[in-house]
């Protein structure tokens, strides 16, 4: 037993150091080099810049939309909402009173805005990350009447825009129909009637 222990000391210490160099430094740095060379846009966060070069978002990560002029994003538990440094879900369980209260308030708000019938479930539930970039097409379409009214656009045009921005499942069975909210709102701004004040 004693010999088992002493014979293990040198390998344990040296292998820790060698693997730390190989796996903890060599591997991630080599991958960073390859990523930055082959896919620089994605490796740096798939950032979107405006004409002046200012970063306005990422194609991958969601950002908050709370204005009535835009398609609004899902409720978010990340910080004060869509905080990129504090990703989080609500973690409320199915029987939490706090969940019922929050959903009830949001449903009433949506109904006051003119959503008729059942409210799409993703529009009133917080995502897992708090940074969900997408909405279901139903959740976007539910907001079309409000946006059409505020922006003075025909509702059919707003609905057509949602349809144009809707992406289907990958390879036909992976994932759900979804609309990237940032892309949708950028398209909305391009449609006319200028950005929010």
């Amino acid at each position: 037993m004693g010999n088992d222990f002493t014979s293990a000391l040198r390998p344990a210490i040296v292998m820790t150091i060698l693997f730390a160099i190989l796996l903890g430094i060599g591997y991630p740095l080599a991958m960073t080099g390859i990523g930055q060379t082959l896919f620089p846009a994605q490796a740096n966060g798939s950032l979107i810049r405006d004409s002046g070069g200012k970063v306005i978002g990422s194609t991958v990560v969601g950002q908050a939309f709370t204005s009535e002029r835009y398609f609004q994003t899902r409720p978010s538990a990340a910080g004060d909402g869509y905080d990129g440094l504090a990703s989080s879900g609500s973690n409320l369980g199915p029987t939490a009173q706090a969940l019922t209260d929050r959903v009830k308030a949001d449903v009433e708000k949506r109904q006051a805005e003119g959503v008729t019938g059942a409210v799409p479930v993703d529009l009133i539930t917080a995502s897992g990350s708090g940074l969900d970039p997408d909405l279901s097409p139903a959740a976007a379409l539910a907001q079309a009447p409000r946006i059409a009214k505020i922006r003075g656009l025909p509702e059919t045009r707003v609905r057509a825009l949602v349809a144009a921005e809707t992406k289907g499942p990958m390879l036909g069975f992976l994932g759900e129909d979804r609309v990237n909210v940032l892309a949708l709102n950028q398209a909305l701004d391009r449609l006319g009637a200028g950005p929010a004040q």
Partner: protein, 567 residues
């Protein structure tokens, strides 16, 4: 539930079944120490490592020596990571300028990653520097996985060898698995993840002016390289707080599928390797069949419950399944599938918040872990955990027919059964003991976010996840406290090494035995009867042990949910 959802689930299983033999063959080459095509490139690295560390890879080790070397290596790694985390503030690679990680959190995290648990008491983005993620955590993702596979190899040798005193060489097993399996696959996976939008940079925070004119800060970092091994090694420790639900960790449905496949890939392969090692691949397929029966049953329940949704919310004028805590790009089917995969394996990565699942939908991940994560299971840990149940199952079969039980040519005697029970008993003892303690102690009761039975589920889930070395959470629990960091740290250590040591003792004991050829009186361990017996034993042991605790948590929660009771 949708047809598309079921297509996903069965396509997922189909892809893995197609990969089982190729991966199993590759693992078998490593098990035997054969030369692979990758030796041309990485062979010099392997031999260089041995030379510097004074290792003779051909020196066979007894089970005791194998265990001591494995333990000391893991303990050294633990100290190393503890030091890296504590010194984070003065080390480079810290673009956010984060301070050193606190004592009890470093203790918890170092154990968490050493034991392949990857429980996150911390939020990655607010706690860990880039260097800590790379040097402190990524390295464990490789080596705890390699340790698990090495241990499985050791047990396979116990079954395969005849009248032998040794079970292999730990250093050779762990190094070969790392260099010829984990590292090359991770290079490919990392490139795939980057191409799909997972960041890989040494930069820190990027400031964004949103379309509405607000400021949003996005954290970048070496995410993809961590992501690849996080899933392949069934570690599960994410770069960000919300793990694979974060769009930067898991940007689309395709990366999500690849992540789920990565979690199961090696576990599927190892069942085949086991069969090959003991000279009959049907033994491996029988094990895999039993695992798949339990897996499909679990997925079906969780998917059904999540798709049915929360009746309390339906009363408020909402239709559809449960989307609280889920991402639109994955939807309900892929989130339910991921949750069952990650807890069947000992991964613990999450792409949706299990805490917000429906009561029964969230019970399946919990129950998967309580079964000991033997449904595919963690890399290596799954198959050796499963073989402990197999020993128990042949013992029960032997009792029924009144013969000394045999399994794959080895007589199973009192010593093996006692050791197997010892290893299996650590789960209920630690899970139920620590949960009970935390349910009465003030410091424990301060943890849960949710009230009522769901709060109890949060505590139960935490200790189950820790002991089973899973690492997923009902994340509402505030676990970054001295009470939980301390107890969970101890639980993770017990759950890993107090199973491993008896398991290695079994390996040593089996290796020493003579080969007993199959006779007319042997219980056949390849057919449907055997598969049924295995499933039955696992469910009975797991069910009888944990049903009372499940009744207090998820089942009570479910009854409240369907009767409209909130807390």
């Amino acid at each position: 539930m949708t047809i598309q959802g079921w297509i996903l689930i069965f396509a997922f299983i189909g892809i893995l079944l197609a990969l089982t033999k190729p991966v199993g063959l590759w693992l078998f080459a490593l098990y035997e120490g054969r030369r692979t095509p990758l030796h041309a490139l990485l062979g010099p690295v392997e031999s260089g490592f041995y030379k510097l560390a004074g290792i003779d890879p051909n020196a066979e080790q007894s089970w005791r020596r194998y265990a001591v070397h494995m333990l000391l290596f893991n303990f050294t790694l633990l100290l190393f990571t503890y030091a890296v985390l504590r010194l984070q503030g003065v080390l480079p690679g810290n673009p956010q300028g984060l301070a050193g990680v606190g004592e009890h959190l470093s203790f918890n995290t170092a154990i968490s990653f050493t034991t392949n648990t990857n429980w996150q008491s911390y939020g990655g983005e607010s706690t860990m520097s880039n260097l800590s993620q790379m040097l402190g955590l990524t390295i464990h993702n490789f080596l705890s996985a390699a340790t698990g596979i090495a241990l499985a190899f050791a047990l396979f040798r116990g079954f395969a060898r005849k009248s032998a005193t040794t079970i292999g060489n730990f250093w050779a097993d762990a190094t070969r698995v790392t260099l010829y399996l984990l590292l090359p696959l991770c290079v490919l996976l990392t490139i795939f993840y980057i191409a799909n939008g997972v960041p890989q940079t040494l930069a820190g925070v990027v400031d964004v002016s949103t379309l509405e004119g607000a400021k949003q800060s996005l954290l970048l970092g070496p995410v993809a390289s961590q992501e690849a091994i996080k899933l392949l090694g069934t570690n599960g420790g994410g770069f960000f707080n919300v793990n694979s639900a974060h769009p930067f960790e898991n940007p689309n449905a395709l990366t999500n599928l690849v992540q789920m496949l990565s979690i199961f890939l090696i576990g599927f392969g190892l069942t085949w390797t086991f069969g090959k090692a003991v000279g009959n691949t049907r033994q491996g397929w029988a094990i895999l069949s039993a695992m798949l029966i339990l897996f499909v049953a679990g997925v079906s329940i969780t998917y059904w419950q999540e798709a049915a949704g929360n009746p309390i919310l339906h009363q408020l004028g909402i239709t559809g399944g449960n989307m609280e805590g889920k991402e639109v790009r994955f939807g309900i089917a892929a989130s339910a599938l991921f949750s069952v995969v990650t807890t069947a394996a000992s991964c613990g990565a999450v792409n949706a918040m299990h805490d917000s699942f429906t009561a029964l939908g969230g019970m399946i991940p919990l129950f998967n872990m309580q079964l000991g994560e033997v449904v595919i299971g963690g890399v290596g840990a799954g198959i050796y955990g499963f073989l402990l149940f197999a020993i128990l199952a042949v013992f029960v079969a032997g009792l029924m027919v009144g013969r000394t039980p045999e399994y794959v040519g080895k007589k199973i005697e009192a010593r093996e059964v006692k050791l197997a029970v010892l290893a299996i008993a650590i789960l209920p003892l630690t899970i139920l003991g620590f949960t009970a303690l935390s349910s009465v102690a003030e410091a424990g009761l301060a943890g849960p976010l949710n009230k009522g039975p769901h709060g109890f589920s949060e505590i139960l889930y935490a200790f189950t996840s820790a002991v089973a070395n899973n690492g997923s959470a009902f994340a509402g629990l505030t676990a970054n406290t001295p009470w939980y960091n301390g107890l969970l740290g101890v639980a993770m250590w017990l759950g890993r090494f107090f199973i491993i040591v008896p398991m290695l003792a079994i390996a040593g004991s089996l290796a020493a035995k003579k080969y007993t050829p199959e006779s007319a009186g042997s219980f056949p361990t390849t057919g449907g009867l055997w598969v049924g017996l295995l499933v039955g034993i696992i469910l009975i042991v797991g069910g009888l042990t944990f049903l009372p605790s499940l009744a207090l948590g998820p089942i009570a929660d479910h009854l409240a949910m369907i009767s409209g009771q909130t807390f």
